[in-house]
Symmetry: C2
């Protein structure tokens, strides 16, 4: 093993003999190059040869670490409390059972998913930005096919928090642009600084007429779809007063403008869980063992020099214990907190208690007709919504339309995705009451939701992630300005014991709530174990702004 | 046949006996309902039974009319001069031969397409807005599978006409928004009208800080992709002066904002020509005959009452003649002009000479590696471009990235799509010189184009639509303010003879250059023949603004 400092650009791993070439080929192009391992793989002696690693939790980070370490020759065992891999990466399909903890902490069945065959809905992560290169790379290497996820279309709706009206995105977006450009033109003109180039820019930016006035624009859509002998007439502009008074921007209207979201993103064809299934498959192929239904009950740093770990876990009512040189915990901090820890530092115990996890809920609907796509048979005068998100001031916050299987018969919709207080309210209700509230919010956007044959209650699902066993939250709610958070974040980037115990996950990454963060964290831990990354974090680390990273700037 | 006035909402056609039900089922859900036919289909007596119709030209409108009239029982023969259907709807694949007229009007081979198998490029229409309901409906009914066409991603580039720099879309778009919002905040503040709500809106609109200043935003992307311990840092904002001086908006930067384009649209999987292939297949299935290689040489309105047509055509060097009760011409006006016409009105002859057709060119490249998608193997610090368009002040005007087969090895790019003077310049060059000029424009955006192994000359194709035999242009360049155009447009909405001869196509629709316009026009003609639409156009018709409809507002 040759520690050789931080690698800014991972390079191809040298491959020695044919057995190693085969293993490399079998496990795809990810592997050593992903973690920067440039040391030679000695004949019969990969860096991890004979070294045991216990990984706690088969979420995205746990599985990524399991795969990468296995490829490097480590003897990896993953203990997963649930009977499935993936953690919050979960896709609901027919027959899936969802559990949440009741007020006594007892897991209770909330739903058995009753979607039709072939239908599915992502309950956790639902999209991948094109700059989340690790996610894209693992998908490509492991044959997880991607298709566009449409984040925004101009046919999406916005229902403003302060005005009981529903407008299409294009009218709100472009009429607002137009009026703001007009106002600027007026003010700059009056200040005698409205030069030719700036005037030209403002006209293009806001679709202003030659006098610098905004009189509506085809950007906002047509009054009606044109017929022969008619020219497309712009929809009359909404009034600026109505727009300003509606507070539409407080309904997250501008979220898709941010680099993390974008108009188009990616999603795996057939469901987000194809990613964790592929990671688990490749980790096992590289030699890892994944034990499902194994609930960790205590963790002890065993050796006097802090270079070993013993983990007690319960499976099928029986207690087991496992020892390893290294332990990587992908357990969410709110769960890890309550697991008995021996020989851990006070600083560590404090750190995992410092950051709270965000409350967040989703609702999923099956619709027996894709009414939002419009009726191509009845008239040419309606348009359709093909993907994207409608925003609302209602508790449900947002309604996602499917970005796949356009023009087919049925489909699933994300009927709520909310945070903080709204999630506390929704998650506090019984499952049937959640569906009732979500239906009310959806009806405000689409009256079709009144029809329970079209959108049946018994095919709806809900999830309150902060009540899900072994999860207890959506993501770590880091606050960059909080001094305690700075201390905790830095602490958690460093192993416990000398170099025995590591925490991983999006929870301790610059991208909380994103799979890219989970993979980045896993690769970082692997690099620490390899000696490529130092064990100690820099004095100054940047604490992520979880709200901005998960819910946009405002 | 029961003429019953204009139908604003086409309704389901009544289906009498099982034979008709079968025909209806065979031909999909389009058909009578698409054209508003609500009269009973008498047993053994559909409205067109025994009535012959000649359709000249198998473009989108000709094929649509052929299909709809055949379903209604008309005996339809389509004469197509070329050896393929589709007109400007053309997809280039390996072995396809492209011809253009030389300075003597002689067709010359410009390219034999040498793309690898499985690769293709749309030379004509390349995308479908979600509000072009006719196109979507025929696609659905005829099993033409659609996938998203990505019009814009924030990773696309813009190279300003007046500044030799290349910027990513997101920086130009969001820094401009930010500065404009900031300037408005300053001005409104100074005018003491910067109220709470407006201030709040401006901050959300432009990503301003609490003081109303724009200091950059993650909307414009990151300084670099984040690593563990780093928080995503916004790219430093471009200077407002540089943005204004660059004239970026004159490179069509805001075109995707218009309702006709949008961030996402649709494209048929495998090539746009699947639409015309499906239309031809279904027209034939419904009884139409399509004669390829049949060049129309003269058209005569034969009967004294103007209710019959005789068409002379040449096929394989032999002259033929065909008679019919109705004739529908999908021949582009610049071609129709030079076909001998007998018993046509002077007003008609004048009308088809009034509107000019736009010059337009496309260039197609095969790239042996999808370098624009970034290198997932080498580093996590580059991002990729997945679809969308880069804009440039260079002659090529725009560069389209493929919206399909992401993450695969090779791909095709639209290396130029230009109009007017730029198209005149490019189209005036020999094919190899066009590729040379297009490569220069592409190199300014992507230096990878310097590598002729990566993007080989011998796999490039070009097309100058204004030089293509039987086309002679991109689309009718209607000008709404031109009095002669108003007269001509109205004239061409009405048949010649009493009701014998009709012109169709996007050329005489509110959507020149768009397939929806072609289909709309075809349905209108069918309705005129059925008597559902009046033969005479209203006194006042709106003439389309072709430039706005094909190239955006500016």
């Amino acid at each position: 093993m040759t520690p050789n400092g931080k690698q800014s650009a991972p390079v191809k791993a040298p491959v020695g003999d044919s057995a190693k070439a085969l293993r490399h080929a079998m496990s795809g192009l990810s592997g050593p190059q992903a973690t920067g391992w440039t040391g030679a793989m000695e004949s019969g002696g990969a860096p991890g040869e004979g070294v045991e690693v216990l990984i706690l939790g088969a979420g995205v980070a746990g599985l990524t670490a399991a795969y990468e370490l296995s490829v490097l020759g480590y003897e990896v065992t993953v203990l997963e409390a649930q009977n499935r891999v993936g953690g919050r990466n979960r896709t609901a399909r027919k027959g899936d059972t969802l559990y949440e903890l009741d007020e006594h902490g007892i897991p209770r069945l909330t739903h058995t998913c009753a979607f039709d065959d072939e239908l599915y809905l992502n309950l956790g992560p639902g999209r991948i930005p094109y700059h989340h290169r690790r996610v894209l790379k693992y998908c490509r290497d492991f044959g997880v096919e991607l298709e566009p996820y449409v984040m925004e279309t101009t046919a999406n709706l916005v229902r403003s928090p302060d005005a009981p009206v529903t407008w299409p995105n294009r009218r709100v977006a472009n009429d607002t642009r137009g009026y703001l450009a007009e106002k600027l033109a007026e003010n700059l003109l009056s200040l005698d600084t409205f030069t030719g180039e700036l005037r030209d820019l403002l006209r293009a930016f806001g679709a202003l007429d030659t006098n610098g006035k905004y009189r509506g624009s085809t950007r906002s859509g047509y009054l009606s779809l044109p017929e022969i002998g008619e020219f497309p007439v712009p929809a009359p502009p909404l009034s600026f007063e109505d727009l300003v008074n509606s507070g539409f921007w407080r309904a997250r209207f501008y979220q898709p403008v941010d680099y993390l979201w974008q108009g188009t993103m990616f999603q795996p064809i057939g469901g987000m869980d194809h990613i964790v299934k592929a990671l688990a498959r490749e980790a096992k192929r590289a030699g890892a063992t994944i034990v499902l239904g194994a609930e960790v009950v205590d963790i002890e740093i065993t050796e006097e020099d802090g270079t070993g770990v013993e983990v007690g876990y319960r499976k099928g009512g029986v207690d087991y214990s496992a020892k390893a040189r290294y332990c990587v915990s992908n357990i969410p901090f709110p769960v890890l907190r309550d697991i008995e820890q021996t020989n851990f530092s006070d600083a560590f115990r404090q750190a995992i208690r410092t950051v709270k996890f965000e409350k967040t809920c989703k609702v999923g609907w099956q619709a027996n007709q894709r009414f939002w796509e419009g009726d191509l048979d009845r008239t040419y005068e309606t348009e359709g919504i093909y993907g994207g998100i409608s925003w609302t001031g209602h508790n449900i916050t947002q309604l996602w339309y499917p970005s796949h299987d356009y023009f087919s018969d049925k489909g699933t919709l994300t009927g709520a995705y909310n945070f903080q207080k709204a999630a506390d309210t929704l998650g506090g209700l019984a499952p049937d009451k959640r569906l009732k509230l979500a239906r009310e919010g959806a009806i405000e956007l689409h009256p079709e939701f009144k029809d329970k044959k079209l959108v049946p209650d018994d095919k709806g699902v809900t999830i309150a992630w902060h009540k899900v066993p072994y999860q207890l939250g959506g993501w770590a709610a880091w606050k960059p300005e909080d001094e305690e958070h700075k201390k905790a974040y830095r602490q958690l980037l460093q192993p416990e014991g000398h170099d025995a115990f590591y925490v991983t996950g999006d929870q301790i990454s610059p991208l909380p709530g994103w799979q890219e963060g989970a993979m980045m964290s896993a690769q970082y831990i692997v690099q620490q174990i390899l000696g490529i990354m130092p064990l100690s974090a820099p004095e100054e680390v940047a604490v992520p702004d979880s709200v901005a990273l998960t819910q946009g700037l405002h």
